[in-house]
């Protein structure tokens, strides 16, 4: 609730869920960004359900929005919702996650999920120690399309390094079986993800990490690399690896720059996180919306193929944050306050 009840709302925003910290940040930034425009907005959450998402979109249409900024929990299942908006002549901006297989998307502002996965993997590659380093793979929820995008990006970077012997996969028989394939089909990815899924749940991540370390022989310990899918699960996994004496050091990725993980990075418990400066993305999205409302054509930087049309897009670079640049990227840029953390 960020506006008075009865105003006509001009920009509707639908975010995937309030259960993940990442979207709380987005909500906050949207609220901040809109303080000084003349347009009103309303933000609704879909709680991970495409059905609720559709209801939200319908509600916003009823409230008379002109522009819809939408980030779907499932990019494939959001078409019905945006097509309903399109029918009413509403401009649709796909926010961060691309809505696929429909022509009802006008613009796309994004960090590019595949890029996120690549950035995570690249960090592991850059910090690899010597040859034959054990690599632990983890993925998001097997039910979540985005988890596959992240994994796809990561695989594209990791696979060559596995092939050349820099890494050896420690915790997935399916991945070992497929390690010579450069690009994986959805089905093949499913097999791996099904085996190393965290369901985006830190507890599940912890359980998995514990069993994996139990199962791993001494040759799979020592200095290890871990593909942590997001910050919440990365912390849980890191906790487990930190307590195993046979693991001498680990490098673990994450994403979202959760406050808790920033503290972990400061303390050296988590190696990196992919920081998506939501402010930039929000600014881009709102800028586009305002342009559209003002009747101008928003500027874009490229195009994305959503398997039906090419969507005009504006891409924002993700920022890899680790101990070295955490202060600069997150504190000095004003994203977080310094006194939220200790030991900076």
């Amino acid at each position: 609730a960020c506006n008075q009840n009865n105003d006509k709302v001009s920009v509707g925003i639908v975010l995937p869920t309030k259960d993940e910290e990442r979207w709380l940040q987005d909500e906050q930034r949207f609220k901040d960004a809109l303080k000084d425009t003349k347009y009103t907005t309303e933000i609704l959450f879909s709680q991970g359900s495409s059905a609720k998402e559709k209801e939200n979109v319908e509600t916003l249409i009823n409230k008379g929005i002109k522009v819809l900024i939408i980030c779907p929990p499932d990019g494939d299942a959001a078409a019905a919702a945006v097509e309903a908006a399109k029918k009413e002549g509403i401009k649709v901006i796909s926010y961060d996650r691309l809505i696929t297989k429909t022509d009802a998307v006008d613009y796309y502002v994004t960090f590019d999920s595949i890029e996120v996965g690549k950035a995570q993997a690249q960090y592991l590659v850059d910090h690899a120690k010597g040859n034959g380093q054990p690599l632990y793979l983890y993925a998001g929820a097997a039910t979540d399309n985005n988890a596959f995008l992240f994994f796809e990006g990561a695989w594209s970077v990791l696979q060559p390094k596995i092939k050349d012997g820099t890494f050896k996969i420690a915790n997935s028989a399916e991945a070992v079986a497929l390690q010579d394939k450069e690009t994986l089909s959805r089905d093949e990815m499913s097999k791996i993800v099904g085996q190393v899924t965290t369901s985006w749940d830190p507890n599940e991540a912890k359980n998995k990490a514990q069993t994996h370390l139990t199962a791993a022989g001494a040759d799979m310990k020592g200095d290890v690399a871990i593909l942590g899918p997001n910050d919440g699960t990365a912390r849980a996994i890191a906790d487990v690896f930190a307590t195993d004496k046979a693991v001498t050091s680990y490098v673990i990725s994450g994403q979202d720059a959760d406050k808790a993980s920033i503290q972990y990075i400061i303390e050296g418990k988590q190696s990196m996180t992919v920081f998506k400066d939501v402010r930039t993305l929000v600014k881009d999205a709102i800028g586009m919306a305002v342009d559209l409302l003002d009747g101008k054509t928003p500027s874009t930087t490229g195009e994305y193929d959503n398997k039906k049309i090419k969507v005009k897009a504006k891409q924002t670079k993700v920022i890899v944050v680790d101990k070295d640049n955490v202060k600069k990227e997150l504190i000095d840029s004003g994203y977080y306050k310094a006194d939220d953390f200790t030991g900076l």
Binding site: A1, A80, F148
Partner: protein, 403 residues
Amino acid sequence: MNVIKEAKPLKPANLGKEAKSLAHFNIREYGMYIALIVIMLTFSIMTDGLFMSSRNISNLLDATGYIGVLAVGMTLVIVIRHIDLSVGFAAGFMGAIAALLLTQAGWPVYVIFPVILVLGIVVGMFNGVLVASIGIPSFVASLAGMLIFRGALLQVTEKTGTIRIDNAQFNAIGNGFIPELAEVGGLKLLSLILGLAVILFYLYSEFSKRRNKIKYQFEVLSRPIFLLKLIFVSVVISYLTWILAGYHGFSWTVVIMLLVVVVYHFLTTKTVLGRQVYAVGSNPEAAHLSGINVKKITYIVFGSMGLLSALSGILFTSRLQSATTTAGTLFELDAIAAAYVGGVSSAGGVGKVTGSIIGAIVMASLSNGMNLLGVGISYQYMIRGAILAAAVIFDVMTRRKRG
């Protein structure tokens, strides 16, 4: 109220009293309708009428569809003292199968529907066997079913992830409207005709019921009260028709939901099968001793639940134009909540399908209204919880009063 008595002659002095006693006697039955009206009015006022706009009501009813049909089936399951937690993922699973048959196997829609519905019946019957023949408590049996369907849904969508459907016919079920013949002053003609037909049917059936009762010399409502009732209901139906006709008319979802309700209402009130369901719910041992095949009824009720799960899955899949990997999550709890808000009793034997559908609409109205008002999601959960509790407390209180 059917006491064998002469139909009372019209005495104006009595009218007020009659209306009052009527209201008192039926408070429980009408409670839900009153609650619905109160909720609708409140939201209408708070949203400056936006809530009651053609478009919003149309959206609201469409969003109720897939939970509504589940609630109808769940009503009967609860009436026979069971519960089915597996319906959510069962719906999701069968929606995904439908999507696969459509996109991968390329079957035509008119073949897929019956196949999926039959599959639903089979799946439901399987639950019925576990419960009735092996004697597992339905709560656990269906909890196991829930896990199994969840796994199965993941399994079938593993290759593809979310399955997009771009078959217009299929997608019309969840998004389309009945064809427009013409537009009369901005209103859809066919929908108007449909509404009119419903009203005429209602009037006809009420009059013939009354005539019949008078023939049997039962007490009937006095004429003015009777007419008042007819007018009131007709106005409500007209209003709804008018509202819907002002947007795109009746959607297929609404038509299907109405059809399900009408069929199940008829089945439960007018047929032997339906009454046997209530007999089993009221006292299973007595039902057995009265020659009712309790197992058979249990199979049928679970089979019908499976059928409606399949229908729900189709409606949902069509509504999203895609089968998702998480389709069906928590549908069962929404359906159960709707049934309880609609006045079903877990002690068995009590509950109407019409009540449950109203319950589903009440819950959907709450979500919709709060969304319109921009109420935060955390408050939405709490308010829905509180309303559920309040509805059941009201139900328990009024029932206790009547004894």
